[in-house]
Symmetry: C2
Subunit: 205 residues, 2 copies
DNA sequence: CCCCTATCCGGACTGTGGTCCGCTTACTGC
DNA sequence: GCAGTAAGCGGACCACAGTCCGGATAGGGG
């Protein structure tokens, strides 16, 4: 829809847009959001991510189930919200941290450093990451964070075959579901870390 | 439980064991199994795998829901049963077919041929394979077929870093969920095929 | 031909993720 | 303060995967 020269309307719209960028969260909403996150974190830590139902989270938070779903969309959204902070840290480190993770190092070094950092992230939050990626088929690839990592790697792979595909394939090595199985089979995190690095080195070699 | 020298009993047991190796399937059971497979194949083709419920399959087959689940375990089991034939074909080709897929060719060639054949398999049955792999978290890695492919690749990777890990990582490039997303993003099967091959060549190089 | 039982059937039932909508309440402008 | 209203609430409700068990039956033994 294109509107022409309705000056007053345009100005009002613009001001509204600038003034209320995030349309402001109501106090009760903010309180409930925190309650839910807190309850979810506690229950997940206590009983393991898989064995906690959304009803249980809602009840523990003292809110209705509808509130949890309205706020977080679905179970993977809740996991994502809990991961948000750590995820931002990693993204920040990649965007403007020290080399080799941040800008400044050669592309291959940066890619290896990123994958290494990601393995650590995975090791620290495996259950939550897995939940966020496997709640629904294809969830992993729709998450904003995945797109971010993918773009980052694709840029670092520039000049190597099909960078877009390669970035997907490299991210495949740090799939939470695969990592879970490897751990169950007795792999140490160090073995996984070496495997990822070794493969990435060959691919980017 | 150990039984000593109750000769009659032992002989009877042995005979029973030998005579009825597969304890024989009752006629009604066989009929219903075929009905269910037929109905599932039709509905899946007609409406797409995702949009067909197990109730619908049961109803279309004219049997109760319990029958479907008793026979196939769960939804991914049903998908697996439908894939069974094609899967066996590929396994047979790998075990005793012509080189480079079958025995006789150099390990690297065989691995590349296998991945190439698998991409074709994926292209032909993407929806079903995806269903069999994503019905439940970790499903992919528990399927007998995955173990088979994994062992095959691991053996072919012998002498290259961590063969067991590498085999998992290579299979990650032909993950049905990833392939689905790539297709949605506009990748042709040829592009995926080239990407898989290129990566595998670098890794096994 | 009939009986006996291991096998199988089927649909009512459960648990869980996710939706919906009438009611409530926090904020806004007066 | 107060009224109007949009944002938010919450629990009843739905869909679907998967379970269970009382009843039916195929098929072998007599």
């Amino acid at each position: 829809m294109v509107r022409l020269s309705s000056t007053l309307g345009d100005v009002t719209d613009e001001l509204q847009q600038i003034a209320s960028q995030p349309p402001r969260e109501r106090a009760d909403a903010a309180r409930n959001r925190l309650r839910v996150l807190e309850a979810a974190a506690r229950l997940f830590a206590e009983h393991g991510v898989e064995r906690v139902t959304m009803d249980a989270v809602a009840q523990a938070a003292g809110v209705g189930k509808g509130t949890v779903f309205r706020r977080f969309g679905d179970k993977s959204g809740l996991a994502l919200a809990l991961l948000d902070e750590r995820e931002r840290e990693l993204q920040q480190a990649v965007l403007s941290g020290e080399p080799p993770l941040g800008p400044g190092a050669p592309a291959k070094e940066r890619a290896l450093a990123f994958l290494d950092a990601y393995v650590s992230y995975l090791a620290d939050h495996l259950e939550l990451i897995r939940l966020s990626e496997t709640a629904t088929p294809g969830a992993r690839y729709r998450i904003g964070a995945y797109r971010f990592w993918h773009r980052h790697l694709a840029i670092l792979c520039a000049g190597t075959g099909d960078p877009d595909y390669l970035a997907h394939a490299l991210l495949g090595t740090v799939d939470a579901d695969l990592a879970t199985v490897l751990r169950e089979e007795g792999y140490t995190w160090e073995r996984i870390r070496r495997g990822v690095r070794d493969l990435a080195e060959r691919v980017l070699g």
